[in-house]
């Protein structure tokens, strides 16, 4: 098998006495959609944050496209082609949707120590922004200020921002959080399309979505990987059932 | 050697005064997330109240106690009338509003007490030199300051670490939402904490008053030192404030006392006498810069983070 795009080995992260990430190892292959599931507090977001560099692990390594990125700063990882969306929407609230996306494109178009020309009038940036917005179905909302977008639109914009950085790997932290049934369905369709172009790591509570989309699923409980397999196998996995059906009940949220 | 001991004690005394000031500031910040530039004005008011009440009653201790009460009251009134409406605003609003208060207090003092400074004379029993070691004398009043400040520091430590109020204060400093969840009367707690901070600042001011001239703007320079201490010690940490205050007090005092001589060893005497005043006043800021480079979160950050 070819070298995996993302290889995580023995990753450990502690908060005080709590081990949030407990010797996690994980391979993500180029072209796959890899879902990470687990009960609340299993350490999914913590794991994602270590992959994108917002948090540094205590030990273990992360390799991306053959390069050791364990200690690399967040912005450098983004330059390498690693993009993330945040579980709690994290955009520039006082900028328009198009500005949000254009800035992401700008970040990957050389340095920004350009002091004179009007950035909002640069056709290249605007076109990239517009196409990323159209991609997620926000083509008509470019001039709207983010704080005036609906929650569902903001989730889609998160995705457009990530896409505008032209990532090789997209780390999506609960893209369906807080979405209604129709919006969720739209997001699933969107992810179906995107997976053809880019490798995706998907953290999600919506089990219907996960099982519909994922090539492989990793199950995280108390910071530990208890299973990693194709969806059919995960469905029948004893330890997974116990983790979800025992003291921790199944989490299929439809808010 | 005598000089070294004396300067060492001076440094300790100054450091303890700085602690009284920084403790109030860091408590108020830690709990209410409120930046109070006017903290230095409370220090100044403490000194002016003391000068007035001591002259009025003719008794130093009584006057000092009255001044302490007056500053406490002033703090509570200030909190009640104006500042409590600002807690849920951003820090910039705090800075702006309390900057306005400084302007107000400075001119109010000028109007009431006049532009010239006041002197607060010590009673005779506090002016005698005290023999701390065979042949080594130190002013009794400065020793008294060290004593009082140490007792207050211990009391504060006890209150914060051992009592129910202290528990709330610590809980508030590390997790603001939690006090709300406990169903505590937050408004009252805030007023109390602010009053306590004001009283500590007033105490520092009134104790310093007999040593320096009581004058307008006296609270401003020392307020900035208190900021430096908080930055070095870590915001919201009483222990950090204490250690950093002693440290800053020592460095500042010893630097001013001995740096000129030290420089003279290395530089020509004219160059040394030119550089020394500037350099010794820079010392603590250099210290702060070093702390920032090494540990931006301060040396002893409070529980969180």
């Amino acid at each position: 098998m070819a070298e995996p795009l993302l290889r995580v080995e023995n990753l450990v992260c502690r908060f005080g006495g709590v081990v949030a990430t407990d010797h996690v190892s994980l391979d993500v292959h180029s072209g796959e959609l890899h879902a990470i599931i687990g009960p609340n507090g299993a350490g999914k977001t913590t794991l994602i944050s270590q992959l994108t560099g917002q948090l540094l692990p205590h030990s273990g390594t992360v390799h991306f496209a053959g390069q050791d990125i364990t200690r690399l700063a967040a912005h450098r990882r983004s330059r390498l082609g690693l993009a993330r969306s945040f579980q709690i929407t994290s955009l520039l609230p006082d900028f328009t949707a198009a500005d949000n996306v254009a800035l992401a494109a700008q970040a990957h178009d050389g340095h920004s120590f350009r002091f004179w020309g009007n950035a909002r009038k640069e056709r290249g940036l605007r076109e990239t922004a517009q196409s990323a917005l159209s991609r997620v179905g926000l083509g008509h909302r470019g001039d709207t200020v983010v704080s005036e977008l609906s929650h569902g639109e903001q989730r889609e914009l998160e995705l457009a921002v990530a896409l505008a950085t032209r990532p090789q790997l997209l780390l999506l932290d609960e893209p369906m959080a807080g979405l209604g049934a129709t919006e969720s369905a739209r997001m699933v369709t969107l992810l179906q399309e995107l997976r053809r172009e880019v490798t995706i790591v998907l953290v999600e509570h919506d089990m219907n979505a996960v099982f519909a989309l994922a090539d492989r699923i990793t199950v995280l409980v108390y910071g530990r990987v208890i299973a990693c397999d194709v969806p059919a196998a995960i469905r029948g996995h004893d330890e997974v059932k116990r983790a979800y059906l025992g003291d921790q009940h199944v989490v299929t949220r439809h808010d | 050697m005598l000089l070294v001991i004396e300067q060492f004690l001076n440094g300790l005394q100054f450091g303890l005064l700085l602690f009284l000031l920084a403790a109030g500031l860091t408590l108020v910040f830690g709990i209410m997330d409120f930046v109070n530039l006017a903290h230095g004005s409370l220090y100044m008011m403490g000194a002016y109240f003391a000068a007035t009440f001591v002259a009025w009653t003719g008794n130093f201790i009584l006057g000092a106690l009255l001044a302490l009460g007056a500053t406490l009251l002033l703090g509570i009134v200030l909190e009640f009338v104006a500042l409590r409406h600002l807690y849920n605003r951003d820090h910039l609003d705090h800075v702006l509003a309390t900057f306005g208060l400084i302007l107000f207090f400075n001119d109010a003092v000028r109007l009431i007490w006049g532009p010239a400074g006041l002197a607060l004379p010590l009673p005779p029993w506090l002016t005698v030199p005290f023999q701390i070691m065979p042949g080594v004398y130190y002013p009794a009043y400065r020793l008294a300051i060290i004593g009082v400040a140490l007792v207050v520091a211990l009391l504060l430590y006890f209150v914060v670490m051992r009592t129910r109020i202290g528990m709330l204060i610590r809980a508030g400093a590390s997790n603001r939402e939690m006090i709300g969840a406990l169903g505590i009367n937050i408004k009252l707690l805030y007023t109390l904490v602010f009053g306590l901070g004001a009283a500590l600042a007033g105490l520092a001011g009134l104790m310093q008053a007999p040593i320096l001239t009581v004058q307008i703007g006296m609270g401003e320079n020392i307020l900035i030192l208190a900021f430096v201490i908080i930055v070095i010690g870590g915001i919201g940490s009483i222990r950090g404030a204490f250690l950093a205050a002693i440290f800053v007090g020592m460095i500042d005092t010893l630097g001013r006392a001995f740096l000129p001589d030290l420089l003279r060893q290395v530089l020509s005497s004219t160059a040394a006498s030119t550089a020394a005043p500037a350099l010794s006043s820079m010392l603590i800021y250099l210290l702060m810069a070093i702390v920032l480079v090494v540990r931006p979160e301060g040396l002893f950050p409070a529980g969180r983070r």
């Binding site: 912005h75 955009l91 900028f95 | 702006l96 208060l101 001119d107 006043s281």
Partner: protein
């Protein structure tokens, strides 16, 4: 929105026109005092505009901006004292010195955020104040008298009130134009993005502190220019120019005018200094009124003058 925007545009246009025509009025009426007052206002407006660049657009709450006023001023004063009278030397030195100070202070202060940043910029500016007070050769506490204004050969005569006024106004309008270009450039978008959401900017690939620091240095340099102007205006420079209350005044001017608005600092400075002027005519204790007024503005009129003219407060 458009209606209020127009009010704002009209007021800004009136103010600029008024500033441009003021010397005509003062020359005709012989009211020299007005020109003196407004020269000072324009210089402070430039300083406030530079602070607005980092505070309003960049979200960096610097409480030490008066330091650059002092550094720019001392560069002019010290060089003049040492017999170097040429403005072609004095002014570049003033700018470079301010830029270097901003570089060092910024590199240190930007390791922190929020209140820490406010306190640290304040402390470092106070350090500059103490250093200036310790400069015995250059007057120490008492300050340094500048016997001859910067010499620009036959180009411009700074001792001529009207010429000097127009130079200051040119610097102000030039500075605002520069800030306008910067704010709308790629660089400006990054800096404003950082004010809005730093974590997001990092995640999409920006090395955040580098951009903040460059912005901080640009702002300090512009304020250094204001310092050089101020020293020439008063023929004098002293540590008091960088006392921390001066930094506070600058902050008030920016906030009063409305943060993150291009002409806001100009309006804020005019309001603040005219109010100070008027109150001090009326009573010696003008701060007794000014102080509580600030408190009331914070409590009831957020967004400043510019906000009242219909511009929503951001962030």
């Amino acid at each position: 929105m458009s209606a209020s925007l127009n009010t704002r545009t009209i007021i800004v246009a009136l103010v600029v026109a008024g500033l441009l025509l003021l010397p005509v009025y003062t020359t005709l009426s012989g009211n020299v005092f007005g020109l003196t007052v407004f020269t000072r206002i324009i210089i402070y407006a430039l300083a406030a505009a530079s602070l607005n660049l980092i505070m309003g657009y960049g979200g960096m709450m610097s409480f030490g901006h008066a330091a650059y006023l002092g550094i720019g001023g001392y560069a002019v004063g010290i060089l003049a004292h040492e017999g170097i009278g040429s403005g072609f030397i004095q002014w570049p030195v003033a700018l470079v010195a301010s830029a270097l100070f901003a570089l060092v202070i910024g590199a240190l202060s930007l390791r922190t955020r929020g209140v820490y940043f406010i306190m640290i910029t304040l402390a470092f500016a106070q350090m500059a104040y103490y250093v200036a007070s310790g400069l015995a050769r250059y007057g120490g506490d008492d300050g340094l008298t500048i016997y001859k204004r910067s010499d620009f050969g036959g180009l411009i005569d700074l001792s001529n009130r009207v010429q000097f006024y127009y130079l200051c106004l040119f610097c102000l309008l030039g500075g605002i134009y520069l800030i306008w270009r910067i704010v709308n450039s790629r660089f400006g978008m990054v800096v404003q993005g950082l004010r809005s959401n730093e974590r997001r900017m990092q995640a999409i690939g920006f090395p955040v502190n580098r951009y903040r620091l460059v912005c901080f240095v640009i702002s300090g340099t512009i304020c250094g220019l204001a310092g050089a102007l101020l020293a020439n205006n008063t023929d004098f420079v002293s540590p008091a120019a960088m006392y921390w209350t001066r930094s506070g005044d600058l902050m008030v001017m920016v906030i009063l005018g409305g943060m993150g608005s291009l002409f806001g600092p100009v309006l804020g400075t005019i309001a603040f200094l005219l109010l100070e002027e008027a109150l001090s005519q009326f009573t010696e204790y003008w701060a007794l009124v000014m102080g509580p007024m600030l408190l009331l503005i914070v409590l009831f009129a957020r967004g400043g003058i510019d906000g009242m003219l219909g511009r929503p407060r951001r962030g």
